[in-house]
């Protein structure tokens, strides 16, 4: 990578202290002990959700969401004119940009978005575009910027929820509100909305041969799946179960968002 001349010089190699930890022990203990999780939630219990609209004054629409300790902020600009346009299309254009803040993960992330962030931006676009009425703003573009302030597990599903709330706040016409949830399977049982230490990561020596994590973005009214993303080795039976669990979780999440949006609309009206 050419040295980044637009920022102050940085020492080449710097090691993050958390990588030196040898305490494999934390990973060994099972996710579920006497059917309570590490932060004594039930298997299918969601973390506390706090959502707030209109947090950024400059943006057409913006939203801030806290699921447990995972904090994501998102702003929506547009529909605005597209400078260089390659092909003519009657539909509007949606473009997403997903970014982890440098201090959001235990391992510091670089300023320039790496491959993983570019791929997640593309997946965010695929998750949101079925729900947006693109034909309502032809030849224009809606830009969505999501930033993860703190990643304490299932950050990408929180980003999808935050982006859809921001779209609602920007009063962009939607067929439905996409809501996303994550499910982790550790060989024995399925847990919903995993925290960072409960998340699947291929580093850890696997407890049982079969474990993985599934993310589903669901359109509750249209009853359609707008994004499906699964990592780790799962049989199709387990895959079906985890998808059903995800959909239930998104329905719960959906009711919470609806209240939050109703409040917002009420506060604007009067």
């Amino acid at each position: 990578m050419p040295t980044d001349t637009k920022r102050l010089p940085v020492p080449e190699t710097s090691i993050c202290p958390s990588t030196l930890i040898e305490d494999i022990s934390a990973k060994k203990l099972p996710l579920i002990s006497n059917n309570k999780r590490r932060d004594d939630r039930l298997c299918t219990q969601l973390r506390h959700v706090y959502a707030k609209l209109k947090v950024i004054s400059q943006a057409q629409g913006s939203a801030y969401i806290e699921i447990g300790n995972t904090k994501v902020i998102c702003s929506v600009y547009g529909p605005r004119e597209v400078k260089k346009r390659d092909e003519f299309s009657m539909d509007g254009q949606l473009c997403c940009d997903f970014k982890f803040a440098t201090f959001s993960c235990p391992q510091r992330r670089s300023h320039l978005s790496d491959n993983e962030e570019k791929e997640l931006s593309q997946q965010l676009l695929n998750a949101l575009s079925p729900a947006v009425c693109l034909n309502k703003f032809p030849k224009a573009r809606v830009e969505i910027f999501a930033l993860v302030l703190e990643n304490d597990g299932s950050a990408f599903s929180a980003a999808i929820n935050c982006a859809s709330l921001a779209l609602v706040d920007a009063s962009i016409e939607l067929y439905d509100i996409p809501v996303a949830a994550c499910v982790r399977y550790d060989g024995v049982n399925l847990i919903v909305d995993p925290q960072l230490n409960e998340e699947y990561s291929h580093q850890e020596s696997n407890l049982s041969e079969e474990n993985g994590q599934v993310l589903v973005a669901y359109l509750p009214v249209l009853k359609q799946i707008s994004a499906l993303n699964h990592v780790g080795c799962l049989s199709s039976k387990v895959l079906n179960q985890s998808m059903k669990l995800c959909i239930e979780a998104t329905q719960k999440m959906h009711t919470i968002f609806q209240e939050c949006i109703k409040e917002k609309v009420k506060s604007i009206m009067d």
């Binding site: 020492p11 710097s14 202290p17 702003s75």
Partner: protein, 266 residues
């Protein structure tokens, strides 16, 4: 549109001058009155220290990550502090995604200079093993909502309590024991915007910043000494005006310092 908005859209400057003559601003604040400021500290668990500051609509959050690196040859037992101000396209419609804009780079360098001149953190404390391992503090300041007065907000954050971890011998690292870094100084900045030689307002919003012809920032430290006076161009000021700006600056700094105290203590 009522006539007031039309007048504002057509003649923004005169609209503003009308208000300034009666010594008041469109959003109801007096000339030397700052916007409501809120500070909350340690909102991110993964960062060694983090803080979020909100001055009016301008929201800025900063995370400090400490990492270990080998020191530079010239200063073997000095830690390294790398500030960086980041204006993501999220914070204002004018900014496109891509390399940092000039405004971001200028603020980065300015904050770096203020850090150096007020030597907020003694570089010696950051040394683990002289000329072998030393701490490097990445202070990443992310602006979430740009509504004027970026420097004040970014500087207020400079004071998160950084927890640094103990090391013994070869590089092991003990999670439990963390010692917090003592901050030797608390530089606090106030920004003024000058419309013409006598109408000087404090803590301008983005709109006021674009209308005025020149803004300047004074940073005071604990003992109310000036650790940075940054006035890039704009209306010329003589000594007497500078002095009364300093007076306002002191008043503002005291109110902010008390705010900082209860934020950190809570």
């Amino acid at each position: 549109m009522e006539s007031a908005d039309q007048f504002k859209a057509v003649q923004p400057l005169q609209y503003y001058k009308r208000f300034l003559d009666q010594n008041i601003r469109p959003d109801g604040r007096r000339l030397q009155e700052a916007r409501t400021t809120t500070v909350n500290v340690n909102f991110c668990t993964h960062a060694n220290g983090s803080a979020m500051v909100r001055i009016g609509n301008t929201t800025v959050c900063c995370g400090v990550k400490a990492e270990i690196t080998t020191p530079s040859v010239t200063q073997p037992n000095d830690g390294i502090i790398v500030p960086n101000v980041d204006l993501p396209p999220l914070c204002s419609s004018a900014i496109q995604s891509g390399p940092p804009t000039d405004y971001a780079q200028t603020s980065t360098k300015l904050i770096d200079d203020i850090l150096v001149s007020s030597n907020l953190i003694e570089k010696k404390d950051l040394c683990i093993v002289p000329s072998k391992y030393v701490w490097v503090l990445y202070c990443d300041i992310v602006c979430l909502d740009l509504d004027g007065n970026l420097i004040d907000a970014s500087l207020l954050i400079k004071l998160p309590v950084v927890s640094v971890n103990e090391k013994t011998g070869k590089l092991e690292y003990d999670h439990a024991k963390t010692t917090s870094l003592t901050l030797r100084d608390e530089p606090i900045a106030t920004t003024f915007a000058a419309f013409d030689s006598d109408a000087i307002i404090m803590d301008p919003t983005l709109e006021e910043e674009n209308l005025c012809n020149g803004s300047f920032t004074i940073t005071l430290n604990k003992e109310d000494d000036i650790c940075s006076l940054f006035k890039p161009g704009g209306t010329e000021l003589d000594n007497q005006k500078l002095q009364n700006c300093l007076k306002h600056c002191k008043r503002r700094v005291n109110s902010v310092r008390s705010l900082m105290q209860n934020a950190v203590s809570s």
